[in-house]
């Protein structure tokens, strides 16, 4: 996955961060303080393989992420990780879904242009013949109050 560059930011000002992902890989990203509202009535849907590599994404996913579908398929889902998100949230996500259970939570996602969008996400394992063959995530427009709570809580978890 390539580093973000200032050219990605569409003329906005971004703060540089160096992210280290759970698999040890690193990426330079820029976070722009600009929220893109979740579209009403839509769901953002994606699927991954068992290791978290994106295998499928719907139109709303592509539109909100700012990437093209070709830039998303085959990439680890952490392509959307925002520097403000605590690692503990994702550890809990993975621990939960690997046990075969459903995880839900409020997630701030990073767009290709450095802006962000909040979602209420549910992740479920795809269990076929008793085996986990991948994961599906559905995100919906979150409650404003819950987002405010998460935004206040997450910095303390970092």
């Amino acid at each position: 996955m390539r580093d973000m560059t200032l050219d990605d930011l569409q003329g906005e000002i971004g703060v540089e961060h160096l992210l280290t992902y759970a698999d040890g890989r690193r990426r330079r990203v820029f976070a722009v303080d600009l929220e893109v509202p979740f579209p009403e009535g839509r769901l953002i849907v994606s699927r991954t393989d068992p290791s978290g590599v994106i295998t499928q994404a719907n139109e709303s996913f592509v539109a909100m992420s700012g990437y093209s579908i070709d830039e998303l398929i085959g990439q680890p889902h952490y392509i959307l990780r925002h520097p403000d998100m605590p690692a503990a949230a994702f550890k809990d996500l993975w621990d939960t879904v690997r046990r075969g259970e459903k995880w839900t939570g409020y997630v701030k996602n990073l767009r290709k242009d450095g802006a962000y969008y909040w979602v209420f996400a549910s992740v479920v394992p795809n269990i076929r013949d008793g085996c986990i063959v991948g994961y599906t995530s559905v995100r919906r427009k979150p409650s404003r109050r819950k987002v405010a709570e998460a935004a206040a809580l997450y910095p303390a978890l970092k």
């Binding site: 009535g41 849907v45 719907n58 479920v124 599906t136 559905v138 427009k141």
Partner: protein, 248 residues
């Protein structure tokens, strides 16, 4: 023993005669004897599911999830280009223009249609509303949901989008859409009981060709379906994973 074909009660009631025409066509083309059982409400559908009386069913995604995961039902076909979507509407003369205008205590008129209710509730969440701070009342039909908005008994109502679009022009003009879902991947399905597994291929083949003969096309028009399209087991599993992710 004739097969029992059950149709979910959540479609527009004006389609019910059409389902008899579809059933007649299907019998002629498969050589099967099939008895159509229209259900008046979800109670009778769910009783038929529990009593294991269903061989073929046109089910909404909620019931399809249970029939496939718990009873091993087999996916046969789905209506082309006809996803299940929901509308949240208010009376035009109310002061409500968007979901953001809604406050705790909002009176919601809904039906026993489980997909529409789920989608409606999801669309109220952004305004911090859920079952704990809404007054939710069930009405026997979408027409009566509309009526309760018009006479001021409820503030917002949940509708199946296609039923909303088919309300009379007079009624529709008195209603304002606050939000319409665009989920696109949730739809009704035709499913078959595993005990008729050896006959599913023939039934599926007939349904997929239905629009290529004149009578078949007419029958489809009577139930508001353009044509049937194939669904494989993984399509259905994907839809069910989505439902699981969205509910309880």
């Amino acid at each position: 023993m004739p097969l029992t074909f059950t149709v979910s009660p959540d479609f527009n009631a004006r389609y019910l005669p059409g389902w008899y025409v579809v059933n007649t066509w299907l019998q002629r083309h498969t050589g099967e004897s099939i008895h159509l059982e229209g259900c008046d409400d979800f109670d009778s559908l769910h009783r038929a599911m529990r009593d294991d009386r269903i061989d073929l069913v046109y089910a909404n995604s909620f019931d399809a999830a249970r029939l496939v995961r718990d009873h091993g039902f087999i996916a046969v076909a789905r209506p082309h280009g006809r996803p299940d979507e929901a509308v949240v509407a208010a009376a035009t003369r109310s002061t409500l223009n968007s979901i953001d205008d809604l406050r705790p205590g909002t009176r919601v008129a809904t039906t026993d249609n489980p997909d529409v209710h789920m989608m409606g509730m999801i669309m109220l969440e952004p305004a911090d509303l859920d079952a704990s701070n809404l007054v939710v009342e069930q009405r026997p039909s979408f027409v009566l949901v509309a009526k309760s908005l018009l006479n001021g008994e409820s503030d917002v109502g949940f509708f199946l989008a296609e039923t909303f679009d088919e309300l009379s022009a007079t009624v529709r003009h008195q209603l304002r859409v606050l939000v319409r879902s665009e989920i696109q991947v949730i739809s009704h399905l035709v499913l078959a009981h595993p005990r008729i597994g050896d006959r599913v291929d023939a039934i599926r083949r007939s349904l997929l060709l239905m629009h290529s003969d004149e009578r078949g096309r007419a029958a489809l028009a009577d139930v508001g379906v353009e044509h049937w399209e194939p669904v494989d087991h993984e399509d259905v599993e994907f839809m069910i994973d989505l439902m699981v992710a969205l509910t309880g």
